[in-house]
Symmetry: C3
Subunit: 142 residues, 3 copies
């Protein structure tokens, strides 16, 4: 499988809360980092998702927000991964930003050029990658 | 808090409809503009969301569509804010478009370069910003 | 109606599974291609959605992932449309990719420049457009 999502996290399901329509699935992606995905209960059944099963968690870079100076801030987005900015690729409208997490995992975000300026992002600075559980797609290989 | 979402609307919760898994939260952002957010019921509890509470509503510019000539059109997207185009920043693939709403609030969208041409967008023209309730993240400060 | 979503699929509702909060709506867009949309039950009522009703299905190009070499891969994303790459427009950060499906429908995606390289995408190659049911907005005209 090759997929255009810049973020393809290999991990293992560490928690699964089934619901009538949607299920919440937590994936341990190593280095102490856990993602939460919201998927349909139909998908849980068709993919045979269960605690302990290896999966890939896919997140488009355009689904990720970057937060700095976030002490005391609470967000409804379920995923917030703290790290260090390692790369900024700037364009006319959008910019790509890479954040290295603990344990060697890197998260890639695409944000607006304006936001890079407004946040004062620079390589080496601390930043958090924020994304909703509904932005995560889970995959399994046969 | 500094966050990369170009749209950070300060407002107050004006309505909250709890559900088993998700809750619908309406936020009054001033100027007669109200947003609808769909968040998890777990987030409602953990952030202590309630009518009257001040919040910020975050929407990534890439989550916003722009509609023109929308008379008689009905969409399943819950948010539709009417205004006037104030700025267009064009790139090779994507373009940034700013829409001023009544009351001084501005919405920033990123759409494709092709769509700017197809819609005939120009500064001063009328346009609506359209986005799903699920595209909104709510935040509170400690 | 003119809307900035690059993907505006005209079709007819072929299946509708109501739920307490959300409904799953399948839209036949011709050429044997069917999309699945997740919308709120409130929208089903307000738009009068029902099997047989003509609708447009809107999907932002930035909501679409591109998958190649996907044999045996299962994803929680409900939509996966197979086709052939017909155009690639590359930018500094993002790239636009068009995929022609069976029956003459074309899907437009915006992915990162890096992903075009990583996937080895080229015009004429096989590729699948992948997107979540929650990324689809349905519309009707008066």
């Amino acid at each position: 499988m090759k997929i255009s999502a810049r973020n393809v996290f290999k991990g293992t399901i560490s928690r699964l809360e089934p619901g009538a329509v949607n299920a919440e699935v937590e994936v341990d992606v190593g280095g102490g980092n856990r993602l939460v995905a919201m998927v349909t209960s139909a998908s849980v059944r068709s993919l045979g998702l269960a605690v302990g099963k290896p999966v890939v968690a896919l997140v488009k870079s355009s689904s990720i927000l970057i937060l700095v100076e976030g002490d005391g801030v609470q967000l409804t987005a379920r995923n917030r991964l703290d790290g260090t900015v390692t790369q900024i690729t700037d364009g006319a409208v959008e910019a790509g930003v890479s954040i290295a997490l603990a344990g060697g995992v890197t998260v890639h975000a695409v944000i607006t050029h304006e936001s890079v300026l407004a946040l004062g992002l620079k390589v080496g600075g601390r930043a958090s990658a924020v994304f909703k559980a509904s932005a995560v797609i889970l995959g399994t290989s046969a």
